[in-house]
C-alpha cells in the first residue's frame, strides 16, 4: 500500500507542477483549446486516482475544480485571471493535502468547504461570471460527446483494454485488481495514448514501484517512451561505469607498453565500447534545464500580482541538458535570482512608462552550451543595480573605504552584492530582501565548480550569467611530473604547452630570481610546480650521475628549476628541457614549470578527503590507469597563491569584461631600472620585447650610431641617458624594443625589478624622454617616454620626424579627470606595439581607453552593448581593414553615431577621401601624436554639442 501511495505522490506532484505551468500559460492564451483540454485531463486524472486510492478529501477538491475546468474546456466559461487564481488556489490546497499525506501517510484533517463553495459558485454561474467568449465554438453537449484529441472520456472499448492491461500487469496485490472490479464506473485514469504522466499510470497504479516490475511493464502494450527508474539504480550504474572506465584505462596503459600482443584488437574494441557506454550512461543523468524552470512561471505570476507589476517571463533553451545533480543544486539559486529580478529589478508600470519602457517588464532566461560548460543567463530590462545604494551599503557595512570605492569600476562595485548580509532593499518583503541571498547563491554555484557574474546598467537592466561545468564526474586531464611526482591538470585550464630549452629563443629568463618566459609578445610569469608544492628535490643519485660538477651544484641551495644556465646544463643534462604549462585563470595567464609531461587522460574526479579540503592547490584526486593515486591541481588555487588577481575579489568578470578590463590596463606592469643616476626609472613592461645583456665589446659604431649584431640583423643602440657608462669591456643590460622587424636597444645601468602599479603621474616631465614622475613601489620614479627615444633614434618608427617632445600643455597635469566622467575611447589596431604605446598616452591625457586587436573583437563588443565616445581605428589590419570596419559600424550598429577617427601611416589624398566616404570623421597620420590628441578632444567636444542639441528635441 505504501508503494502505491509513493507512486501516487510522485506522479501527482508532477501533475501539479505541470498544472501550475499550464494555468499560467492559459492565462496568457485563454482560448488555447489544446491547453484547456490538457489541463482538464490532468485534473481529471488526479481526481480519478484519488478516488481509486480512497483519498476522499483530495477527491472532493479535485472534483470541484475539475467541474470548473470542464466548463472552461467546453468553452462556456471565460478564463479570467480571477478564475485562474481560484484554480491555482485549489491546486495549492491539493498540494497541501498531498504534503500532509506525504508526511503522515494519511490525509490531514481539514475543511475545504469554503474553497469548494467558491468553486461551485463559479461552476454554477452563481457568481455572475462571464459566459463563454467568442473564442470557444463548440457547444457544451457536443464537447462532452466528442472526445477531444486527448480522449478524456473512456469509451467502453478503452475501459476493456484498460482492464486487460490491469490484469496483465505485474501486480502481486490482488487488492489492486479487486478495486478495479468493484468500481467499474469509477473514473479510471484516461486512455494511455497521451502524455507521460498518464502513460505510466495503468501499470503503476497496479504494481509496486519495483525495479523488476519496471522492466516488465516496459513490454506492455502501453507504449512507454519514457521509463521511471529509481535514482539509486542510476547512481549505481554510473559508479560501475566509472570504475569500468578506470579499468579500461589500466588495460590501455598496459597495452601501450606491450603494443604487439594478441590482446590489442579486442582491447581496442573494448575501448570503443566502453567510451560509448560511458557517454550513454552520462546521458541518463542529463535532464533538460526546463525542469528547473518549471516552477518559475507560477512564481513570477504570483509575484507580479503581489507587488502590482507586470512581468513577462521568457525562457529560451529549455532543452539544454545538464547533469541531474547539477540541476538540483542550481534550482534554488535560479529561483532566487529570478525573484530578485522581479522584485527589485523590474519597476512598476508607471515608472516604466515614465522612463519610456514598455509597461510589462521582461525577464529572460537563456541557457546554452558553450565549450564544455552550460551558460545560463538571467536578464531583465528593469532598473539595474542601484550603484549609489550599493556604495552606501558598502560604506555602512565597512566593506571598503570611500577612496577605494572611487577607484573601482561600476562592475567591481556591483560585485559587492555577493557579500553575505548584503541587501539594499528598503523593506524586507516576503519575496526577498533579507540579505541572505546572493552569497548563498554564489557559494552554491562555486561548490559545483561554476562561476557567476553580473553586468548591470542603471536604468537599462541587469544580466546574471552563470557558468557551470557540464558534468562533474569524468574530466580530461593532462598528467605532468615534477620532482618525480605526478599530478593532473584539468585540460580545460591548459591553454598550451611550451618546451623551454636551455639556449636559444625559448629559454626561461630570470629577473631578480623570478622566472619569466617570453611567449610571443608577452612576458609570462612562471611558477615552478615543485616550489609551489614544496616538493623535495629529485634524487641525489640522478644528479651525481650527470657529472662531477654536480657536487658544487648540490651544495648551494638553488632548486633544480633555477634557470641560470651555467649550473643546470652542467650538473644535470636531463634538465635541459623543461616544460611550461600555460594556464589561464580568468583573464590572467601564467605558466607552471614542470619536469615532464605525459599524456592526456580521462580521469574520474574524486573529492579530496575532508581533512585536506582546505589545501587550495588541489581540486580532487584520482586513480590512474596504473593504480596509483595522484592529486588534481586547481589552477584557481595556484593563481591565488602566486598573487594573481583572483576570482573572488571583484575583478573576476566575464570574458568580454575581462577583455575590457585587461585592455584598460588599470594597473600596469612596469620594468624598473637605473640609468645614469640613482633615480629609478620605469617603462611599461608590455612594450619591452626582450631583456638582453650585451657584451660591450660587441658594440660597433657607424656614423656616430651605436649598434650591435642581434639575431642576424643590426640593431641600433642608444643609452637611455648620456651618463650611462659604457666601458670597453663587460656587459650592460639592454632593453630591446621591437615591432615588425624593426628593433632598438636602449642601454641602461641595472635592472631593478618588475612591479604592477597604477601610473599616477605626479610631476610632468621636463627633460626630454621622461613623461614625468610617479610613485612606484614607494619611490619617486621617472616614467620613460619610449616614443621619444624611438623618434630620436631616427629609425623609421615614425615616418615623420617630429622632434616636439611629448608633454604638451594640453595634458592634465596629474592624469586625474577633473571631476567629469572620463571619455571612453576605443582603439583598434593590430600592432600590439602601437596599442601599448598609444594606450598609456591616451590614459595619461585623461581618457578611458579600451584597445583591441581586431575589428571583429570590436564588433563583438558593440553587440554586447559597450558604448564609447570616440573610436580610433588603424587602416591596415589583417582580418578586416579600417575602411570595412567603418562601413560595418556605420551601417548596422549601435555605434552609428559614434565619431570615428582613422589612424594610418598611409596618408595619401586617395586614402583620406576613401576614409571620409566610409564614415571616418577625421584621418590622422599615425606618427602625429599631438594632432591625434587635439583632434580627439575636438571631436568629443563637437559630439557633446550635437548630443545636447538633439537631446532637447528628443523624447527622453
Amino acid at each position: 500500500m505504501d508503494d502505491l501511495i509513493n507512486e501516487f505522490l510522485t506522479e501527482t506532484n508532477e501533475s501539479l507542477d505541470e498544472l501550475d505551468l499550464d494555468l499560467v500559460n492559459l492565462e496568457q492564451n485563454p482560448n488555447d483549446k489544446d491547453l484547456l483540454s490538457k489541463i482538464f485531463r490532468l485534473m481529471h486524472t488526479i481526481k480519478g486516482t484519488c478516488g481509486f486510492l480512497g483519498l476522499p478529501r483530495l477527491e472532493k477538491v479535485a472534483h470541484h475544480a475539475e467541474n470548473v475546468l470542464g466548463r472552461f474546456r467546453d468553452g462556456d466559461l471565460e478564463v479570467t485571471p480571477d478564475y485562474v487564481t481560484l484554480i491555482l488556489e485549489s491546486i495549492d490546497r491539493i498540494k497541501l493535502i498531498v504534503g500532509g499525506l506525504e508526511e503522515t501517510g494519511s490525509e490531514p484533517e481539514g475543511d475545504d468547504s469554503a474553497l469548494i463553495e467558491k468553486l461551485d459558485a463559479v461552476y454554477e454561474g452563481r457568481d455572475g461570471g462571464g459566459a463563454a467568449s467568442s473564442g470557444a465554438e463548440v457547444s457544451p453537449k457536443e464537447a462532452v460527446e466528442t472526445p477531444l484529441e486527448g480522449g478524456n472520456c473512456l469509451t467502453q472499448e478503452e475501459l476493456d483494454a484498460l482492464e486487460a492491461a490491469f490484469q496483465n500487469a505485474e501486480g502481486p496485490e490482488e487488492f489492486a485488481l479487486k478495486t478495479v472490479g468493484e468500481e467499474p464506473g469509477a473514473d479510471a485514469p484516461s486512455a494511455p495514448e497521451e502524455a507521460t504522466v498518464i502513460k505510466e499510470e495503468p501499470p503503476k497504479a497496479a504494481a509496486p514501484a519495483n525495479d523488476a516490475s519496471v522492466a516488465k511493464t516496459a513490454e506492455k502494450p502501453v507504449s512507454a517512451q519514457s521509463l521511471r527508474v529509481s535514482v539509486d539504480v542510476l547512481e549505481n550504474l554510473m559508479t560501475m561505469v566509472s570504475e569500468m572506465v578506470l579499468t579500461r584505462n589500466q588495460l590501455i596503459q598496459i597495452l601501450r607498453q606491450n603494443s604487439d600482443s594478441e590482446f590489442s584488437v579486442p582491447l581496442q574494441r573494448l575501448n570503443h565500447v566502453v567510451s560509448e557506454l560511458q557517454e550513454g550512461v552520462m546521458q541518463t543523468r542529463m535532464q533538460p534545464i526546463g525542469n528547473a524552470w518549471s516552477k518559475l512561471p507560477r512564481i513570477i505570476r504570483d509575484l507580479a500580482i503581489e507587488v502590482n507589476k507586470k512581468i513577462e517571463l521568457e525562457m529560451k533553451g529549455q532543452d539544454t541538458e545538464l547533469d541531474r545533480q547539477v540541476l538540483e543544486l542550481i534550482k534554488d539559486p535560479l529561483t532566487h535570482m529570478v525573484r530578485n529580478s522581479g522584485d527589485h529589478g523590474i519597476e512598476d508600470p508607471e515608472t516604466r512608462k515614465a522612463a519610456g519602457k514598455p509597461e510589462t517588464g521582461k525577464i529572460l532566461l537563456n541557457a546554452f552550451h558553450e565549450g564544455g560548460h552550460i551558460i545560463i543567463q538571467i536578464s531583465d530590462d528593469g532598473k539595474g543595480l542601484p550603484l549609489d545604494k550599493i556604495k552606501a551599503k558598502v560604506l555602512e557595512n565597512g566593506l571598503a573605504t570611500a577612496e577605494e570605492l572611487e577607484e573601482m569600476s561600476s562592475n567591481q562595485i556591483n560585485q559587492f552584492i555577493f557579500n553575505a548580509g548584503f541587501s539594499t532593499a528598503e523593506k524586507v518583503t516576503a519575496v526577498s530582501g533579507r540579505g541572505v541571498g546572493m552569497d548563498v547563491v554564489r557559494t552554491n554555484i562555486e561548490k559545483i565548480g561554476g562561476s557567476i557574474d553580473l553586468q548591470s546598467m542603471e536604468g537599462k537592466g541587469s544580466t546574471f550569467t552563470i557558468k557551470i561545468p557540464l558534468t562533474l564526474a569524468i574530466v580530461s586531464a593532462l598528467i605532468v611530473e615534477s620532482a618525480q611526482e605526478r599530478f593532473a591538470i584539468p585540460q580545460l585550464a591548459v591553454r598550451e604547452l611550451v618546451m623551454a630549452s636551455e639556449d636559444g629563443e625559448n629559454r626561461i629568463e630570470t629577473i631578480k630570481g623570478t622566472p619569466v618566459f617570453r611567449l610571443r609578445d608577452r612576458l609570462l610569469p612562471l611558477i615552478s610546480l615543485s616550489d609551489l608544492l614544496k616538493l623535495s628535490p629529485p634524487d641525489k643519485k640522478v644528479v651525481a650521475d650527470a657529472s662531477q660538477e654536480s657536487n658544487s651544484a648540490e651544495s648551494d641551495d638553488t632548486p633544480p628549476e633555477d634557470s641560470s644556465p651555467k649550473i643546470d646544463s652542467v650538473s644535470n643534462p636531463k634538465k635541459r628541457h623543461q616544460y611550461i604549462v600555460v594556464t589561464q585563470v580568468g583573464n590572467n595567464d601564467f605558466g607552471i614549470i614542470v619536469d615532464r609531461v605525459f599524456d592526456t587522460e580521462e580521469i574520474v574526479v574524486k573529492p579530496v578527503a575532508k581533512i585536506l579540503r582546505n589545501i587550495e592547490m588541489f581540486s580532487g584526486n584520482t586513480i590512474l590507469g596504473d593504480g596509483s593515486v595522484i592529486m588534481i591541481l586547481d589552477p584557481n588555487g595556484i593563481a591565488k597563491h602566486i598573487g594573481q588577481v583572483d576570482a573572488t575579489d571583484g575583478a573576476r568578470t566575464l570574458d568580454q569584461d575581462a577583455a575590457i578590463d585587461s585592455a584598460r590596463g588599470e594597473k600596469t606592469s612596469l620594468l624598473l631600472f637605473t640609468a645614469g643616476n640613482k633615480t629609478p626609472k620605469a617603462v611599461p613592461l608590455s612594450l619591452v620585447a626582450r631583456l638582453e645583456n650585451i657584451d660591450v665589446s660587441n658594440i660597433e659604431r657607424s656614423a656616430g650610431q651605436m649598434m650591435v649584431q642581434y639575431r642576424g640583423k643590426l640593431m641600433p643602440l642608444m643609452p637611455l641617458d648620456p651618463r650611462v657608462q659604457i666601458g670597453e669591456t663587460g656587459e650592460k643590460p639592454v632593453l630591446v624594443f621591437a615591432d615588425k622587424g624593426r628593433s632598438l636597444g636602449i642601454i641602461v645601468d641595472e635592472i631593478i625589478d618588475i612591479t604592477e602599479e597604477h601610473i599616477n603621474l605626479q610631476l610632468e616631465g621636463g627633460q626630454g624622454g621622461m613623461m614625468g614622475s610617479a610613485i612606484i613601489s614607494g619611490k619617486a620614479t621617472d616614467i620613460v617616454d619610449v616614443g621619444h627615444f624611438l623618434q630620436a633614434n631616427g629609425s623609421d618608427w615614425f615616418k615623420d620626424h617630429d622632434d616636439t617632445p611629448y608633454g604638451s600643455s594640453k595634458d592634465t597635469t596629474n592624469g586625474k579627470n577633473n571631476g567629469h566622467a572620463k571619455k571612453r575611447v576605443l582603439l583598434v589596431d593590430d600592432s600590439p606595439f602601437f596599442r601599448n604605446m598609444l594606450t598609456p598616452l591616451l590614459s595619461v591625457a585623461g581618457y578611458d581607453v579600451i584597445s583591441l586587436e581586431s575589428p571583429h573583437d570590436a564588433l563583438k563588443m558593440c553587440d554586447k552593448g559597450a558604448e564609447f565616445d570616440v573610436i580610433i581605428s588603424d587602416i591596415e589590419m589583417p582580418d578586416m581593414d579600417g575602411f570595412e570596419f567603418a562601413q560595418k559600424v556605420k551601417s548596422e550598429t549601435n555605434w552609428k553615431e559614434t565619431p570615428m577617427l582613422a589612424l594610418s601611416s598611409h596618408a595619401t589624398p586617395q586614402d583620406i577621401d576613401r576614409g571620409m566616404s566610409v564614415g571616418f570623421s577625421k584621418y590622422i597620420a599615425k606618427f602625429d601624436r599631438d594632432t591625434l590628441l587635439n583632434t580627439l578632444s575636438q571631436t568629443i567636444a563637437e559630439q557633446q554639442q550635437n548630443y545636447d542639441l538633439t537631446k532637447q528635441g528628443d523624447v527622453a
Binding site: 611526482e485 608544492l533 614544496k534 616538493l535 578527503a609 575532508k610 581533512i611 585536506l612 586513480i623 596509483s628
Partner: protein, 162 residues
C-alpha cells in the same frame, strides 16, 4: 593482506546482542596497545604504496588506492605525538576505518587479536592523560597484564581535520 570485518557476516554476530561484552581489534603503536571497536574496522592492510600529498598536514602520510577507492593514510605515531613526524616513514600495517563516507587508513606497527572484553573491565579515560590522548580515547579496559586504550575513531578523524 586484507581481512574484511563485515559486521553482518561476522561469526560473532550473535554477540552483538550480548550487552555484557564488546569486541575489539587490538593494535600496537610504538609499543602501546590500543583497541578499536570491531564494527568500525573495515580492512587490515599490509604494506602499501602510498602517494604523498604535498602541503598536507604532517600526520597525513598520503593516499592509497584500495580496490578503486581512495584512502587517506594517517600516520598514527605522528598523530599521537609519539614520534616527530617525518615524511619518510614507510607504512607497515594499516587499519582501514570509515568515517562520514570516507576511508582512512591508520598506519600502525602491528595488529593483534580480536578480543571480546567484558563491560565490567571498562573504565573511563583517566583525566591525567595528556590532552591529545584524552581527545581520541573513549575509555580504557583493564586487561590482565596491561591497559588497553580504546580509540574513538570518529573523534579521532575529526580531530585530524585541521
Amino acid at each position: 593482506m586484507s581481512a574484511n570485518a563485515d559486521a553482518l557476516d561476522y561469526e560473532g554476530s550473535e554477540n552483538q546482542h550480548d550487552t555484557q561484552s564488546k569486541e575489539f581489534l587490538t593494535i600496537v603503536i610504538a609499543g602501546q596497545r590500543f583497541g578499536i571497536p570491531i564494527l568500525q574496522v573495515q580492512d587490515v592492510l599490509g604494506e602499501q604504496t602510498v602517494t604523498k600529498i604535498p602541503l598536507a598536514p604532517p600526520e597525513v602520510a598520503g593516499s592509497l588506492n584500495l580496490r578503486g577507492r581512495i584512502v587517506t593514510a594517517i600516520d598514527m605515531r605522528c598523530r599521537l605525538g609519539i614520534e616527530p613526524c617525518s615524511k619518510t616513514t614507510s607504512s607497515t600495517m594499516g587499519v582501514v576505518v570509515e568515517h562520514e563516507n570516507e576511508l582512512y587508513s591508520l598506519i600502525i606497527d602491528e595488529v593483534g587479536d580480536v578480543l571480546r572484553l567484558r563491560n565490567e573491565s571498562f573504565e573511563s579515560t583517566p583525566s591525567t592523560l595528556d590532552s591529545l590522548w584524552r581527545e581520541i580515547s573513549s575509555g580504557v579496559y583493564r586487561l590482565d597484564d596491561e591497559l588497553l586504550v580504546i580509540l574513538d575513531v570518529p573523534n579521532f578523524v575529526s580531530s585530524v581535520h585541521s
